[in-house]
């Protein structure tokens, strides 16, 4: 049974030179307790997909096609006030910058207790006990004392732990984590990744982890969806996609990441840059940069096809050796 299904989602932004599709025809599903990584370059549409699921697309952007279902219920057509109830209660959110996610004039405890009481039927004392428990679970030392302190009294890593507690305290079924480790130092980043994994396993919450960092995906996700120019080009279990990528973009991307231990004379690189949304070519958006393109790639857009767990959007997906 899947928790979330997204089908043929298209998000459009009307602009000066006509309507631009930030994401096109995106389909994915998430099971309970699963961590789905969404990876791609800036502008690939990974954050937009997360924002669409959580109902936070900035106007004038809108969902132009497709549907989003959470536990079978359509949520893309809900009114804003109905969506607000779902946010927090059933879908939590973790953003990149912990400072902007927390209210600086309220103590950490006040924010947690308010969120808990908004969504769960608990007394003030119960909610406070629950809040302390959450702070402990996300690894805040001495939570009984620190619950009454303000966000600025926490370090960057501790703040992001509080944000995670805030996202999880109403016991949502799904959490969208948009670049949750990007603003943190590398040593802290590793701790937050480990914490996310641990909590997903313990609580059974599903996580959509949006990031540009393949390393974070490798360390955290169960499955990964690779996005390019507004579309998913490859989906599959993390181990398979990372060790045996099948889309030429994924392969190029994996090869171009510098690794510890290997010191090649020249790093493999993908020529060119991802097209901007209003300048996407007809056919496959990756074709102009693709080292193995054939004639049809410039004319027809390949669909995301595959079997069971692996899907690839490439005309050559059958011929390309895994």
């Amino acid at each position: 049974m899947t928790l979330l299904t997204v089908e043929n989602l298209t998000v459009a932004f009307p602009g000066r030179s006509g309507t631009v599709n930030a994401i096109e025809d995106v389909s994915l599903s998430v099971s309970p307790g699963e961590i789905l990584g969404m990876v791609g370059e800036s502008g690939a549409g990974k954050s937009m997909t997360g924002a669409a699921i959580i109902g936070l697309i900035e106007p004038p952007g809108r969902i132009a096609a497709g549907e989003i279902r959470l536990e079978g219920q359509r949520i893309d057509t809900l009114r804003p006030d109905e969506m607000r109830r779902i946010r927090g209660r059933r879908i939590g959110a973790i953003f990149q910058d912990p400072l902007t996610s927390l209210n600086p004039v309220l103590t950490v405890g006040e924010q947690l207790i308010e969120t808990i009481q908004t969504h769960l039927k608990l007394s003030k004392d119960e909610a406070r006990a629950r809040a302390i428990d959450w702070l402990r679970r996300v690894g805040i030392p001495a939570p009984e004392a620190r619950i009454d302190t303000y966000p600025h009294q926490y370090s960057g890593g501790m703040r992001q732990r509080v944000v995670i507690a805030l996202a999880l305290c109403a016991e949502p079924r799904l959490v969208i984590a948009d670049e949750p480790t990007t603003a943190l130092d590398v040593s802290v980043q590793a701790q937050i990744i480990a914490l996310l994994r641990k909590l997903a396993r313990e609580t059974g919450v599903a996580v959509i982890l949006v990031t540009h960092d393949m390393g974070v995906i490798a360390e955290t996700a169960d499955r990964v969806a690779v996005m390019y120019a507004g579309r998913i080009v490859e989906v599959g279990p993390v181990a398979e996609v990372l060790t045996a990528p099948r889309h030429p973009y994924t392969r190029g991307l994996m090869a171009s990441i510098p690794r510890i231990g290997a010191r090649p004379d020249v790093l493999p690189q993908i020529e060119g840059a991802m097209p901007r949304p209003h300048a996407r070519p007809a056919g496959c958006a990756f074709a102009p940069r693709c080292p193995v393109r054939i004639e049809i790639c410039g004319q027809t857009r390949p669909d995301l096809t595959g079997h069971a767990t692996r899907s690839v959007a490439c005309h050559l997906s059958e011929e390309v050796p895994a």
């Binding site: 800036s42 960092d213 990372l242 991307l253 993908i270 840059a273």
Partner: protein
Amino acid sequence: MTDPILTVTGLKKTFDLSQPFLTRLTQGGGRKYVHAVDGVDFTIPRGTTLSLVGESGCGKSTVAKLLMGLTQPSAGSIRFDGHELAGTRAGQPPAVRRRMQMIFQDPYASLNPRWRVARIIGEPMKSFGTHPDPVARRKEVDRLLEFVGLSAADGEKFPHEFSGGQRQRISIARAISTKPEFLVCDEPTSALDVSVQAQILNLMRELQRELGLTYLFISHDLAVVNYISDQIGVMYLGRLVELAPADRIFAAPQHPYTRLLLDTVPDITMAHRDMDRPAGEVPNPITPPSGCHFHPRCPLANERCRAEAPVFRAHGDSQVRCHAVQEGRTDPMPLRKAG
């Protein structure tokens, strides 16, 4: 290790973060200082790359600014090819400063948005007087644009018409326009996407080979540093804690902090998921821990580490600032405990 082009000794930079005098008088509180760079020594041989790595607040970017004269050192010496630069301002003396250039982290902020690309690239040549004639200068700009992989026609455009990777190429073209010998690169790829990062790193390597450039490369990404460096210096709270040839850092890291950094690099081979993560964060640099700054996070710390700051001392091919290494207390087995 012959022919050093840059020698830095005892480099220090202290920032005064004290409240204004009157506020201190009325509200109490003493003077507050941050030792952003606290006694750094290194030498870069001509034509090689030294990388400085560390987490935010370790002082690596301040070192870059000190070398370029963007901020003045509190103590220490910066000798560039025999010229003492400590105490001189950015761009002074022109004959020496022309030979040092810098590439910045943010390709969106490092190019003046109101200037055309040709003017941006031509500015150093005009200012340092290497190409005073506008026509010759424009010809050189066109050559540089093509050299970094853009076209001469791009000189008429404005920076916003380019992608992040292309802007970084423009930045590089500007930096090499005065035929420098030494480039300071402050996180030149950290704002770029991975597939573009490889293009820029390759371009930088190519330039080094063709022009014989020397790099000081600043980064927080050990994997990037591994690709580009000959020597690597690891910084923690203003001090170099380990300086070693690049392959030694990865094969036989000495300092416990170096080991921690290597442990925390996310690994795309997924070999280490679910392993225990090193705890703790970088302390506030205004109130650094006593003795060795790293001791609160160090598994090898003892009384001596808490009381006495270790000195920077050669240890095999490496130089290390650690009592445990110098006393032979480290366990020789490297890093990773399997998960």
